[in-house]
C-alpha cells in the first residue's frame, strides 16, 4: 500500500487522527487514551497488519513528551509512524507489550530514560540505570553536574 492509500485507510479507521506532513512515511498523531485500542486495530486490521514494531522511542519537546512508534508490516512491507503526545509532568500511556512482545523491553527503556509510566506493564522497572537513580537522563532538563560532560 502506498502512503496515500495508507492515509485514507487510517482516516477511515481513526477519524480523530491528525497527520503530520513531510516525513518519509505516514505520520499521524493519536490521543493517548485511544492508543491501546488503536494499537490492536493497527496490528490486526485487514490490509494494514502492522505486526512488526521496529522502533519505539520518546522525544522530549520541553513542553510535552511525544511517544513515537515505528510500525511495519512483514506482509505488505509498508511503514507508518504513530505519535502520541503526553503530558510532561505526568506521562502515562497504556502498554502495548501484549500486542508487540518487543515493546516490553523497549518500554522499560523509555520508562528508565524518560520516565513515561506504562500502565499495565508486567514488569516496569529501571532497565539500564540502578533502581535508586533519580531523574530521567534523556529529558532535556536533566542535569548531572558530576558525571555529565558538556561539549
Amino acid at each position: 500500500m502506498n502512503n496515500e492509500d495508507l492515509k485514507n485507510k487510517i482516516t477511515e479507521l481513526f477519524p480523530t487522527a491528525t497527520f503530520e506532513e513531510g516525513g518519509e512515511w505516514v505520520n499521524f498523531f493519536i490521543e493517548p487514551t485511544e492508543w491501546k485500542k488503536a494499537a490492536g486495530v493497527l496490528h490486526n486490521a485487514e490490509g494494514l497488519q502492522l505486526d512488526y514494531l521496529f522502533c519505539l522511542t520518546c522525544v522530549d519537546w520541553k513542553t510535552h513528551l511525544s511517544m513515537v512508534y515505528h510500525l511495519s508490516s512483514s506482509l505488505h512491507r509498508h511503514n507508518i509512524v504513530v505519535k502520541i503526545k503526553l503530558d510532561r509532568l505526568n506521562p502515562e500511556i497504556e502498554t502495548v507489550c501484549d500486542i508487540w512482545k518487543t515493546a516490553e523491553l523497549h518500554e522499560r527503556e523509555v520508562y528508565d530514560l524518560f520516565g513515561v509510566n506504562f500502565l499495565n506493564h508486567p514488569d516496569l522497572r529501571r532497565l539500564f540505570l540502578t533502581d535508586d537513580f533519580v531523574g530521567y537522563p534523556l529529558r532535556k532538563d536533566f542535569e548531572d553536574p558530576i558525571n555529565m560532560i558538556k561539549l
Partner: protein
C-alpha cells in the same frame, strides 16, 4: 533484589549468569531461576556498559556523532557508520559518488564476514570447542589487516562518513581482497568439517532455542535470528540502499527456527557476502570518493529514519532535527536489543547448556544492546 541472591519462595535456585561470565561475551547479566539444571525464568539485567550514546550525540555535530557509533556494535562498526551517514545524507539530500557507494558496500560485506567469523569461533568456544576460534581468526586477521591498511584501524574503523568515505582505498586493496577471497574459499570447508558436521554439535544445536516466525516478528528480531525462523528481514533486499539493488545475492532463509537454523544462516551468509565482494571488487568505478559537502552540516527541520543491515540485523537510526548543527534527539534501534528480548522465551524450560547454545546463536554484542 533479595530474590536475586538466594532461592525463591518456591525453592528454586537463583543464579547470576554475568555480569562477568565467559558465555555472555561482555557485561550482560542474566538472573536465572533454575530447577536443578532446568531454566524456569530468565531475566536480563542491562546497563553495565551503558554510555548513553544517544544523549552524547545530542551535543555532537552531524560530522562528529558518526564516530561515536562505531562503539555501539563494535563488530560491525562500518555498518553503524554507514547507517548514520545515510541518514545525514538523506536529510541533506546529497547524492554520493558511485565509487563511494561501492566502497561502502565492499567494506560492509567484509565486516560482515569478519563479524560472522568471530561469532563462529566464539560460539564454538561457548559449546566447549576451543580450536575453531583460532581457525576463524586465521581468516579474520586478513580482513582486519585489509581494514587497517585502508581505514587505519582494526576494530572501530570510522571510515564511512557523511558524504562518502574518509579516504581513498589503499592501492593494494583490490589485490589483498582477492587474496582473502581465495583464502576464504580454500578454507571454508574446514568450518563445516570441524563444527557443522560434528554429531555432538548438531545434537547440541538442533531443536534448541526454538523461535517461531510469529514470535520472531513480534519480538522484533531481525537479521540471522529472524531469517533462521524463516522471516524475510534482510534490509539489503527489502529496502535496498547504495548499490545493493544492482547486486546478485540471495537472502539466506532457514525454516527450522532453532539454533542450528540460525547457525546455518550465518554460515551461508558468509558465502553470500563473498559473492557480493567478488562482484564488486573488479568493478570499483573511478571517480571521487567523497561528495562535496559543507564543513558544517545542518539538517533541515524534520525527522529522518534509515535502516541498514548490520551483521546482527536491522539497525535503525532515527534523527529528530530542529534545523541546528546538532541532532535534537537521536535514537538507535539496535538489533541486539530486540534479539535479546526474545531470549527469555527461547530458553524457558531448557537446560543451562542450551542457554549457552541459544545465546551463542543470537550473537549478542553487549555494547550494542546497552548503547
Amino acid at each position: 533484589m533479595i530474590e536475586e541472591l538466594g532461592t525463591t519462595s518456591e525453592g528454586y535456585m537463583v543464579i547470576n549468569i554475568g555480569p562477568q561470565h565467559p558465555a555472555t561475551h561482555g557485561v550482560l547479566r542474566l538472573v536465572m531461576t533454575l530447577d536443578g539444571e532446568t531454566i524456569i525464568k530468565t531475566e536480563p539485567h542491562l546497563g553495565y556498559i551503558h554510555r548513553s550514546i544517544e544523549k552524547m550525540c545530542e551535543s555532537l555535530s552531524y560530522r562528529q556523532f558518526v564516530y561515536v557509533t562505531s562503539r555501539m556494535d563494535y563488530l560491525s562498526s562500518h555498518m553503524n557508520n554507514h547507517g548514520c551517514s545515510l541518514v545525514v545524507e538523506k536529510g541533506l539530500q546529497v547524492e554520493i559518488p558511485e565509487r563511494a557507494q561501492v566502497i561502502r558496500v565492499l567494506m560492509d560485506e567484509l565486516t560482515r564476514v569478519a563479524s560472522h567469523e568471530l561469532w563462529w569461533g566464539a560460539m564454538a568456544m561457548d559449546l566447549g570447542a576451543f580450536t575453531p576460534f583460532f581457525h576463524s581468526f586465521r581468516e579474520r586477521e586478513t580482513i582486519t589487516d585489509i581494514m587497517e591498511e585502508t581505514c587505519g584501524a582494526r576494530l572501530t574503523m570510522n571510515y564511512i562518513c557523511p558524504g562518502g568515505v574518509m579516504a581513498d582505498l589503499h592501492p593494494d586493496f583490490q589485490k589483498r581482497v582477492k587474496n582473502f577471497v581465495t583464502l576464504f574459499k580454500s578454507k571454508f570447508h574446514e568450518y563445516n568439517e570441524l563444527v557443522t558436521g560434528n554429531i555432538i554439535f548438531q545434537n547440541r544445536m538442533k531443536g534448541v532455542g526454538f523461535l517461531s516466525a510469529e514470535d520472531a516478528i513480534s519480538f522484533g528480531c531481525t537479521g540471522p535470528v529472524a531469517r533462521g525462523s524463516g522471516v524475510k528481514s534482510d534490509i539489503r533486499k527489502l529496502y535496498p540502499y547504495e548499490v545493493y539493488n544492482k547486486l546478485q545475492f540471495d537472502e539466506v532463509l532457514e525454516t527450522g527456527g532453532d539454533s542450528f537454523a540460525r547457525y546455518m544462516v550465518r554460515i551461508n551468509e558468509m558465502l553470500q557476502s563473498i559473492k557480493i565482494i567478488e562482484q564488486l571488487i573488479d568493478n570499483i568505478p573511478e571517480g571521487e570518493f567523497q561528495a562535496k559537502t559543507k564543513a558544517v552540516l545542518k539538517l533541515p527541520k524534520g525527522e529522518f529514519y534509515q535502516r541498514v543491515e548490520t551483521a546482527r540485523g536491522e539497525l535503525g537510526v532515527y534523527i529528530v532535527s530542529e534545523g541546528g548543527t546538532t541532532p535534537y534527539r537521536i535514537k538507535f534501534r539496535s538489533p541486539g536489543f530486540s534479539n535479546l528480548s526474545a531470549l527469555p522465551q527461547m530458553v524457558k524450560g531448557s537446560k543451562i547448556g542450551d542457554l549457552v547454545a541459544t545465546m551463542g546463536t543470537l550473537d549478542l554484542v553487549i555494547p550494542d544492546i546497552d548503547r
